[in-house]
Symmetry: C2
Subunit: 387 residues, 2 copies
Amino acid sequence: MKDRFSLPDGMIYLDGNSLGPLPVGTAEKVQDVVQAQWGAHLIKGWNLDGWMAQPARVGNRIARLIGAPEGTVTMGDTLSVKVFQALSAALKMRLDRRVILSDSGNFPSDLYMAEGLIQQLGQGYELRIVAPEDVASAMTDDVAVAMITQVDYRTGRMHDMAQVTAAAHGAGAVMLWDLAHSAGAVPVDVAACNAEFAVGCTYKYLNGGPGAPAFIYARPDIVADIQPALAGWLGHDAPFAFETGYRPAAGIERMRVGTPPVIQMTALEHALGLWDEVDMAELRERSVALGELFIALVEEKCPELVLASPRDANQRGSQVSFASKNGYAVMQALIARDVIGDFRAPDIMRFGFTPLYIDEGDVRGAVDILADILATRSWDRPEYHQK
Amino acid sequence: MKDRFSLPDGMIYLDGNSLGPLPVGTAEKVQDVVQAQWGAHLIKGWNLDGWMAQPARVGNRIARLIGAPEGTVTMGDTLSVKVFQALSAALKMRLDRRVILSDSGNFPSDLYMAEGLIQQLGQGYELRIVAPEDVASAMTDDVAVAMITQVDYRTGRMHDMAQVTAAAHGAGAVMLWDLAHSAGAVPVDVAACNAEFAVGCTYKYLNGGPGAPAFIYARPDIVADIQPALAGWLGHDAPFAFETGYRPAAGIERMRVGTPPVIQMTALEHALGLWDEVDMAELRERSVALGELFIALVEEKCPELVLASPRDANQRGSQVSFASKNGYAVMQALIARDVIGDFRAPDIMRFGFTPLYIDEGDVRGAVDILADILATRSWDRPEYHQK
């Protein structure tokens, strides 16, 4: 499907785990929402062009990708805000417990949002951060919520959602998954694992564009009991009745907050259309093959780099990371030669492999350039050390 | 400046208080951010195209419009989320008090967000809602925060910011202004009135487009003490150090949360460029003249309508409302004839007058059509009663 993306000539883009590329046709859709909808319909666009229903419509597209039933996912805000909403709701489900369990591989913003919430609540809540491999065994009976990102943003290490969720439930805890590096990258089935909440962003493997809105899922049997912490008018049962008091909407709509970002949402909606043609099991198989090839070639041609991702593909998401004390400069040298990955402190070079637009030729080409940069030490030029 | 907006031929658009029209050139800017930036630069856009600094840059444009110093406003999320952030921070400044004072003319979402926060805090907080005219006298010494929207979304009634802020401060309360219907509509000076917080949206009089991001201001002398409730990574002092613990950024940047909506922000940034050519005092004068003319003509030609806005222009924002028990149907009939205002339950017809793209001819044209609809009772067709 490489031809469905507008990628610059000659670029090998291995950073879709940070920001997905531009799907062909997005520019036209965005023009349309700006000129034919906003420009021509103005305020009438909310109904005429379906802007008000868009978060539900787009949510249903996400639902299919994460194994959620129709009508259980809505869109808006940013992932951090959605983490806050889900975590707030989850804590209210276990009022006799005070621990939020997470792991050191979680994305920092999730941990920060938990910190902010804990400080806000001021009732002795605790954020307990354990090593990723200790999550299941750390599910003690004081854990209110397990807040875990399935795929580690640094290493690509991947949790088994069914196993961790079962451990959480076994300890009586609520399960909250962050699927930022999972949705569109690996098969996900939130319904099968029975997790209460899932959240994620859409600008990585889902190619929604910079700042695309986030998603939130709540299990259908619990949603009616959620009292939203962020009780915005578009989560109200009757937003346009302009009542003085808040009454949450019936289902997942209560997790909407304010006016949705219609232009971003339109870019995202277009990008999600691609997934109608994708078989996730097949995509995963090809993604694993690309990752395996990359690891084999790097270990053969760049022996000084140390694999920082799990060697077992079953424990790895759609990215491969290598560690190097010169990682920052090496990555700058790669980028200068149009092989785009990224660097995460202190020493991690990340490479994302999605078969949507990456093929074996790209992997071979990237490793050849990487090997050349290391062999010639071209990474050691002053400009590549600049931060 | 009518030629700076892309308005449909023949439409008289009196709903800029709900969604501003499309500024000429927006489509090109949005194309540019989608194709030349996202499409060509991908992840590099964050630095190369200044996406990361955009909320501060756009915030500075807003600052000029609300009388705030450079570097005291940032952008993101929605107005409801910004209300939550400001209100959370304000309550922490008065830990010995438990009352949030607001008025019945506030936009419901602000009240809902306060409700959600109060429920979350669970420490005996109270939302006290008084009539708009009683706000100053309701500033008792148990009020922690006065959370007031300057211009009433239904009636256009406008609070005197200096007076209300002085009353709040006189009672030892923190002042939080919602400027949703003020920014770009009337001269605002948050620094002069010395309010601690101000928030607002940008898709009304600022023409940022549907779902454009919101703004938040915090007074420079208090910002360093704010412990953000929504402690997102982009409000961290060093977001890309990926530390495990949260440390807020130095200034207003700490009120950023997640990844900014770059495409929406670009449309907004373009729209704000218009204001370089606008003198707010002159704009206000012309806006008042348009409103006065509208009131005079409607009262002359449509005597059955009852003015629902203050008659004194000094107590009115940039909109004029009339009440009618048939208001819903009359508004539908107006819209069918391309005079666009809107209806707010139970009986309010709203008309916004911004001299940026509305002139005397529009006002006269709108009233003629309104008078005709009433005289011929054409509003009473079944299709105009449908909801």
